[in-house]
């Protein structure tokens, strides 16, 4: 973990609702792995005391990219960032996804909205190719489908309004695929998206004795494990405890997570 001022290398829209911010971060990029995130300070907001967490979407040499959606005052203020601006970053943070998969297992990635960002970093890192299921409200919320295809992944799409791919939740095409895949593949899930989706994927994995690596999204204070704002109830070897999503997570295996709050 480092603290570093990153220079904005580029800041480009991805469709109407998302943007990709690329920063030059020689130190932070050194150790970054898929599933980790960075904590970004928005100095334009004089009255903001908290940084904002964003999954690492890409690492190219010394450049690190995040893929974000403007949902509130911070992410809206971020839109003003221009090439050459300095942005204070703390990272890489969190545990990250396990990337070396046991033989015979097929990586199955499930992403919702910006949730595909860390999954893309994962896919680019994995030796093996697999299947991506991506869901969103509308066609415009389906991100990176082509990028995944370009690196040889099998991509399945679902949208709530059916404007792209299957109409409905991402679990619909997933279940269809699983039926067809029975016997031929044993999936290992990697999911990032809304809690409802994560829970559904987790239950599916538990029911079938598969593994599902879930990236949790919690409001954060420090991002480094100090403030205990981001805790999640988990079960680790039989023992219930409170894990810090920022430090012990954000990635948890489905059997560990206790969803009760």
């Amino acid at each position: 973990m480092r603290i570093e001022n990153g220079t904005v290398v580029s800041h480009v829209p991805m469709g109407p609702h998302y943007r990709v911010l690329t920063l030059n971060l020689p130190d932070v990029t050194l150790t970054a792995i898929p599933g980790q995130f960075v904590h970004l300070r928005i100095t334009q907001l004089h009255d903001a005391v908290l940084r904002r967490p964003f999954s690492i979407y890409k690492v190219d040499g010394q450049n690190l990219s995040i893929l974000y959606k403007s949902v509130g005052r911070g992410t809206t203020a971020m839109q003003a960032l221009g090439t050459g601006d300095l942005v204070s970053i703390v990272g890489p943070l969190g545990n990250g996804f396990p990337t070396n998969l046991a033989a015979g297992l097929t990586p199955v990635l499930i992403g919702g909205g910006y949730g595909v960002a860390p999954l893309y970093f994962l896919a680019r890192t994995m030796s093996q190719r697999g299947v991506l299921f991506v869901g969103g409200a509308k066609a415009v919320d389906i991100l990176l489908a082509d990028e995944f295809k370009a690196i040889g992944w099998d991509v399945h799409i679902a949208t709530d309004d059916g404007s792209l791919g299957v109409k409905g939740l991402v679990t619909a095409p997933l279940n269809t695929w699983l039926k067809s895949a029975v016997g031929r593949f044993t999936p290992e899930f990697y999911a990032c998206g809304p809690n409802g989706m994560l829970k559904a994927i987790g239950d599916l994995a538990i029911k079938n004795n598969w593994k599902a690596w879930l990236s949790l999204d919690r409001h954060m204070g420090c991002g480094v494990g100090a403030c205990l704002a981001c805790v999640q109830k988990v079960r680790l070897n039989g023992q219930e405890s409170l894990a810090r999503v920022c430090k012990d997570g954000p990635i948890f295996e489905s059997h560990e997570v206790i969803w009760d709050d």
């Binding site: 603290i3 009255d47 005391v49 403030c227 205990l228 981001c230 409170l242 709050d261």
Partner: protein, 319 residues
């Protein structure tokens, strides 16, 4: 002569290295800049970013006798100029903390102050007794002012009699320097400061966060699972300065000022108002290097104002 003068000047400007060292109620610190309880974990969390040996002291997150789970989430919400937290004092308990974190902290040359709390008088006393014999603990900060736990916490800190009882009970169990941490939501902070001094406090910390609340107007539900929490950050700084100023008039023991420090400016303001040391809280989240920046800024200020010792700044307000 002109030459001589300019030499003097040169000397004054370049060679004068003000000393930041202090001895606060027997706690030796390299400088008067500490990190506040609950905002810096137990030490390891920020160790990659901040050289702990450069800090005046580390005040660890509040510890109770037995481990404690704290409140449900959401536990924190940002508001303009601050944040409201309702962590609820989650902690591994005396044993868990001592075994898990003290070996790490002992490796550093920095004062370690343990923030303690209990749900009953007996628990406060028991925690104090435990730490009295733990190697590497330099002092105890008594949290009688946490707004986020139903029992204990703030309920002690807003009544003079219970404040007196807690301080006396803890005093009876340890020779360690004792630092009661005062609640801000009282009308006469001086009286609380005095009752702590009279009952054996060696120093005082002020202030803790303010009882506060935020509501989601769309759902009409409180944003925090605990309904309310404690406000911290720049928003509370001017109130904290006033409380420190009033407390300084009421007692002789040294004060540790806390509340909305983001740079040397607020720290210096606190010391002028009467604080012997300061602690950085919420700003650790915004900018982990804040405490180090405060130390540098304080040193520069003293040099610029031709002060050789940081103590010259304490209570130096001109009325």
């Amino acid at each position: 002569m002109g030459l001589f003068l300019s030499h003097m000047k040169l000397f004054g400007m370049t060679n004068m290295q003000p000393t930041l060292e202090i001895n606060l109620a027997g706690i030796r610190m390299k400088n008067p800049v500490m990190v506040a309880s609950g905002t810096f974990g137990y030490g390891p969390e920020y160790a990659d970013l901040v050289d702990l040996n450069q800090l005046g002291a580390i005040v660890v997150k509040g510890i109770s006798m037995e481990s404690w789970g704290g409140n449900k989430t959401p536990r924190m919400v940002e508001v303009p100029g601050g944040l409201i937290n309702a962590i609820g004092l989650q902690n591994p308990g005396t044993k868990g903390f001592t075994e898990k974190y003290m070996p790490f902290l002992r490796k550093y040359d920095v004062a370690v102050i343990v923030n303690i709390w209990g749900k009953t008088l007996e628990e406060y006393a028991a925690v104090a007794e435990w730490f009295d014999t733990v190697e590497g603990v330099h002092a105890l900060e008594i949290n009688i002012s946490c707004p986020n736990v139903k029992a204990g916490g703030s309920s002690f800190g807003v009544h003079l009699d219970s404040t007196a009882r807690v301080v006396a009970a803890v005093r009876a169990k340890t020779k360690l320097p004792l630092i009661p941490k005062l609640a801000p939501n009282v009308s006469d902070i001086g009286a609380f400061a005095k009752v702590c001094e009279d009952n054996g406090a060696d120093a005082l910390s002020l202030i803790n966060s303010f009882p506060a609340m935020a509501i989601d107007i769309e759902t009409r539900k409180p944003i925090l699972a605990n309904v309310s929490g404690g406000l911290s950050g720049p928003a509370i700084h001017p109130i904290a300065v006033k409380l420190v100023y009033e407390a300084a008039k009421a007692v002789k023991i040294p004060l540790i000022a806390i509340g909305g420090i983001t740079s040397a400016k607020e720290a210096i303001e606190f010391m002028i108002a009467g604080a012997s040391a300061v602690a950085v809280g919420t700003a650790n989240f915004t900018e982990p290097l804040t405490a180090l920046q405060v130390i540098d800024g304080l040193s520069d200020y003293l040099a610029r104002h031709k002060m050789s010792k940081v103590q010259e700044l304490v209570r130096s307000i001109k009325l």
